[in-house]
């Protein structure tokens, strides 16, 4: 028997459109009724509308998980990995789940850890899924703790609950599609067993892994291990993304090495660490490049911008950055392009660094 053929990107995109449009009509229609925008509703009607709204949200989440999984299995999921502070992601998740907690307690134990190489949106989705799951399977007076700590070359994010737990024989089935539904049938509402499957796939796309330990009626701990950010790995991975992205035949991959050391002097602020300055510069640079362009922090004082562009594009972008950034006049730029200047991102970066200051900008 042959394996099912993965759905093409075009089919997935159409399917997404066909499913999401009626969902939006339902969600917004119910919202209008809840807001009494179409006339007053009774308390009983409000109760039913709130139930419908929760069902629509559940359906939306299910469809999103199904489409994400199909996209991953078809090899169409593209991550936008950056140097990422895991604590910021956890803080955002804590804010998001706050309304769902009820009387449950949620603690965070965030040890200082190095940044990871991760896609912020995707890792938020993973952490949110794990914490929402913990809430769902923990009693109203229960407790959930999120621990963040370094474990060798990984950052470990553990979501621990003192909820219903799982029997040892259930654990191997946990990351299989739709098995969760069978396990929980009659015990807990909601959950089609897809969320954890998507989480596992997304973490593995980060070259990480998920571990789980659980004891029936004592609780469960899911631990996500994410590789620590290494600039050589990040540079090579993001370059590879651009290499496989669609581009016109005449386009090149341009690498701009930005030397921030001149701007450092004019923004000297003793209250800030150098990497904070670098992060601020990166935020500013991102506002002046296209969303798909790559902006990466390198060993101080360097930042790399990588773009798909025409051969003269890198100089134009450097000019634009110099003109647009408050510290632009103090920045120095060097450029290199693929294929002319080398086959790898490392080679392009080395060439661009050697050329810093050689290009005369207006």
């Amino acid at each position: 028997m042959s394996a099912p053929t993965p759905l093409g990107d075009e089919v997935l995109s159409r399917l997404s459109h066909e499913l999401r449009t009626p969902l939006m009509s339902m969600k917004w229609g119910v919202n209008l009724l809840i807001e009494n925008a179409l006339g007053p509703t009774t308390r009983k009607q409000q109760e039913f509308l709130k139930t419908m709204e929760a069902s629509i949200d559940h359906l939306t989440s299910l469809i999103t998980n199904m489409l994400d999984l199909a996209k991953i299995e078809a090899g169409h999921m593209r991550l936008k990995r950056q140097r990422l502070d895991v604590a910021a992601v956890i803080e955002a998740v804590v804010r998001t789940v706050h309304p769902l907690l009820g009387y449950r307690r949620l603690h965070t134990e965030l040890a200082p850890v190095p940044p990871v190489f991760g896609d912020a949106t995707t890792l938020f989705q993973v952490a949110l899924n794990l914490v929402a799951n913990a809430i769902k399977f923990t009693a109203d007076d229960g407790c959930i703790t999120i621990h963040v700590a370094q474990r060798q070359q990984f950052v470990a994010v553990a979501v621990e609950d003192n909820g219903v737990g799982m029997a040892p024989e259930d654990l191997p089935k946990l990351f299989h599609k739709f098995t969760q539904l069978e396990r929980q049938e009659g015990h807990h509402p909601g959950g089609a067993g897809l969320g954890l499957v998507v989480c596992k796939e997304l973490v593995e796309l980060h070259q990480g892994r998920i571990e789980v330990v659980s004891e029936l009626r004592r609780g469960t701990t899911f631990t996500v291990l994410l590789p620590i950010y290494l600039e050589s790995v990040a540079l090579a991975a993001r370059f590879q993304e651009l290499m496989t992205a669609p581009r016109k035949p005449q386009d090149v991959i341009g690498l701009i090495a930005v030397d921030l050391s001149g701007a450092w002097a004019v923004t000297e602020d003793t209250t800030q660490q150098p990497h904070q300055h670098q992060d601020e510069f990166i935020q500013q640079i991102r506002q002046h490049v296209r969303p798909r362009d790559v902006v990466l922090p390198m060993t101080l004082p360097w930042v790399v911008v990588m773009i798909i562009t025409s051969p003269d594009g890198p100089a134009l972008v450097a000019q634009r950055l110099r003109d647009a950034l408050p510290q632009g006049a103090q920045l120095r730029f060097g450029m290199a392009t693929h294929p002319a200047d080398g086959p790898t991102a490392d080679a392009l970066f080395a060439t661009a660094q050697q050329r810093v200051g050689l290009l005369l900008l207006r």
Binding site: S13, R14, T21, M24, S25, K27, L32, A37
Partner: protein, 127 residues
């Protein structure tokens, strides 16, 4: 709510799903916007001949004339090139951000976004 004494901004909603058009219109009117609707890109062009909206809320995947083609036509039109576009789509993923940059859209939202998110995007887009 869109408070203020000047005339409420006029939004042209372009989407091929009649049910969603109706819900979008009711919601935007609830937020005190004035609303015009069109079922595809060709209808939108006919509406534009009669009235000039302050912002266009545009679905991508539509019959006859899709949102991307309409947006490109608008961008090269002498009278309509500056009308802000808010793209709203159920299509998933790849290249969305790139599309937004190419079309010069003020915002790019995925269905089913919350009403507040769309209203906030429209508020930011209207000059």
């Amino acid at each position: 709510m869109n408070a203020g004494t000047k005339a409420a901004p006029l939004v042209l909603v372009v989407d091929d799903d009649a049910g969603l058009r109706r819900v979008l219109q009711a919601t935007l009117e609830h937020y005190r916007y004035r609303v015009l609707t069109a079922g595809d890109g060709l209808e939108a062009l006919q509406v534009l001949e009669q009235k000039r909206p302050d912002v266009i809320l545009l679905d991508i995947d539509m019959p006859k004339l899709d949102g991307e083609t309409l947006a490109l036509k608008l961008r090269s039109h002498p009278d309509w090139h500056a009308i802000p576009l808010v793209m709203l789509t159920g299509l998933s993923g790849l290249g969305d951000q790139h599309l937004m940059a190419t079309l010069g859209a003020a915002a790019y939202l995925q269905k089913p976004c919350p009403p507040e998110e769309l209203v906030s995007a429209i508020q930011r887009a209207v000059p």
